[in-house]
């Protein structure tokens, strides 16, 4: 809990501000004010070069909400939520419950390996998986051919139907280990007695998992949801390095749409409105899940 902080004798009450001021200045200039400026820019029409900035009110927002390109991008982001968030959380729960209650020898090694994708640059991850998905020399199609499934050995990242799940599954590869370790940390809190009591009552492993483990991990699941959903909504690096939104617009996501509108099509106001919408969606989702998390904590208490 926060303690009462006392001033030293003769010390100004503003002393703390001297310590905050350098950090605050840099933060305001390079992070906070740009956020406000993005919102302001979103009400203008501007090409980024000319002196002429035209105030157009909410026109950019109206255009966004009727723009099929944005609808498509947002839908793709939602598909990414399945791959970045839902599947990794299920895998993480599964792996963590395999590992948590009876520690197995050599566990540290598995943990190190499964968490590894989290620390690698997404550009490198993109390069690795473009190679994996390569239609002729990629391991996936070589394996399919070897198994006699030649007709399934398609050009994954160039296919209108399969490019999106292919890129999404890279997200699953990255996020699963993170979810597992988050849940393992949470499981240490759940008391063994619950499981013992449940076993005595004749509850099987699945029932124990659903009625003890999952409720016990409520706050970790909320954290995993927030982190991975945000990652799915703001995905950019991975799409840039694997498909650039293609083929067609089949892997186009909001982050890439912002980049393209601002830096390739010079529609600065429109891009700023997109960025504002994306940020709002992210903030709303974070707050909603956090609220759910807090309710959970209060109920437990």
């Amino acid at each position: 809990m926060a303690r009462v902080k006392y001033r030293y004798p003769g010390e100004s009450r503003w002393k703390g501000w001297w310590y905050v001021l350098p950090a605050l200045t840099v933060y305001l200039l390079f992070t906070f004010l740009p956020i406000l400026e993005t919102i302001r820019t979103s009400f203008y029409q501007w090409d980024g070069f000319s002196q002429q900035k035209t105030w157009i009110g909410f026109a950019n927002y109206l255009e966004i909400f009727s723009d099929p390109k944005f609808h498509n991008a947002l839908r793709n982001n939602l598909v990414f939520v399945i791959f970045y968030s839902i599947i990794p959380i299920l895998i993480g729960l599964f792996l963590a419950s395999l590992l948590s209650r009876r520690p197995i020898p050599g566990f540290a090694f598995f943990r190190t390996a499964l968490f590894l994708p989290q620390v690698i640059s997404m550009v490198v991850v993109g390069v690795v998986w473009r190679w994996m998905f390569n239609p002729t020399s990629g391991p996936i199609n070589i394996a399919l051919n070897w198994l006699g499934l030649r007709r399934f050995a398609i050009s994954w990242l160039g296919d209108f139907t399969w490019a999106l799940p292919a890129v999404g599954s890279i997200g699953t590869w990255v996020q699963s280990g993170f979810c597992m370790i988050l849940f393992l940390a949470g499981m240490q809190r759940i008391q063994e007695e619950y499981y013992e009591a449940a076993s005595l009552d004749g509850a099987n492993a699945l029932k124990q998992f659903l009625h003890i483990t999952v409720p016990g991990l409520r706050s970790e699941i909320a954290v995993a949801l927030v982190t991975t959903i945000i990652a799915a909504l703001r995905v950019f690096d991975l799409v840039y390095t694997t498909t650039r939104g293609g083929p067609g617009e089949s892997t186009m996501v909001t982050g890439f749409l912002i980049y393209r509108s601002a830096f390739m099509l010079n529609r600065i106001g429109y891009a700023a409105a997109l960025a504002t919408v994306l940020t709002l969606i992210i903030l709303i989702i974070s707050l909603l899940i956090r609220r759910y998390q807090r309710h959970g904590v209060e109920e437990d208490a």
């Binding site: 501000w17 350098p22 980024g48 590894l116 640059s121 190679w131 980049y259």
Partner: protein
């Protein structure tokens, strides 16, 4: 406690499958970097006949990864040193000093941790352009410091908040100033928290892509991830060369992760829980 093998075996097998799914792509890429163009044809997981560094040499010189590496080191070092220093100062004020206005200042700093770079990149570009800083590494350093400070302040504040009061009280009685208490009493015991902060900010900066992609067009100012992305566009078909480039980008963060694993995981979980 003894482990019954019959019960352990299925769990090992399942874990092994997931571990292979994670490691095989990385291992395949790793071995490819040592192969010749002909050897690559022999199959993705065949081993190179000799572990030649030729691809690395070519990526380093011809692919100009030496320059990208240098830029990445300059950016990451500057960002880490200045963010950790500034975050320590402001975290100290938030955690241990009376700070009028803290109730609104804290959420203000927190916002930076929640918003993505996409939300600030457009005005940042124009701002840097006006200052004449686009096409310099400052355009990559300053925004990254701003964003890192947001997390760093929260992280250090929660450390100082929980630091043993007896220590700081004793220091005050002995006549230490706030400044001396921070650097001589608290900072030495903050080592684990500071290490975590250093490795996290290093990793985020090293892997940052969008900012570096937008701010500089000049090839000789690119950082490693951007350099690799353009390199990929140029040498798509040359898998060994691309693999070598990818390893140069990934190796520093992987090494630091393996060396400082404890700090890494604690920080990423702690950061996630707090954010």
């Amino acid at each position: 406690m003894r482990y019954p093998w019959k019960k352990l075996l299925p769990r090992y097998l399942i874990l092994m499958v997931f571990m292979l799914l994670v490691l095989l792509p990385l291992w395949g890429m790793f071995t490819s970097a040592f192969k010749t163009g002909v050897e690559v044809m022999a199959g993705p997981f065949s081993l190179p006949r000799e572990w030649s560094l030729q691809n690395f040499e070519q990526a380093w010189r011809v692919g100009r990864f030496n320059i990208f590496f240098k830029n990445s080191v300059i950016v990451a070092t500057t960002v880490v040193v200045s963010s950790v220093f500034l975050s320590t100062l402001s975290g100290y004020a938030f955690g241990s000093l009376p700070l009028p206005g803290k109730t609104w200042l804290y959420p203000l700093m927190l916002i930076g941790y929640m918003v993505p770079f996409e939300a600030v990149i457009i005005p940042l570009y124009n701002f840097m352009d006006k200052l004449g800083l686009t096409e310099t590494l400052w355009a990559l350093i300053l925004p990254q410091v701003g964003l890192s400070i947001s997390f760093g302040t929260m992280w250090m504040a929660s450390f100082f908040e929980n630091a043993p009061e007896e220590l700081t009280d004793a220091a005050a009685i002995d006549g230490c100033s706030r400044w001396q208490t921070l650097w001589y009493i608290l900072f030495p015991i903050a080592k684990p928290a500071v290490t975590t902060l250093i490795v996290l900010i290093f990793m985020w900066t090293w892997n940052e892509f969008l900012l570096a992609l937008v701010m500089v067009q000049n090839e000789s100012l690119r950082t490693l991830p951007v350099g690799l992305a353009f390199f990929q566009g140029k040498y798509t078909a040359n898998i060994p060369l691309m693999a070598a480039g990818a390893i140069i980008v990934a190796l520093p963060t992987i090494l630091i992760y393996i060396l400082f694993q404890r700090f890494f995981i604690r920080g990423m979980l702690g950061g996630a829980v707090k954010g």
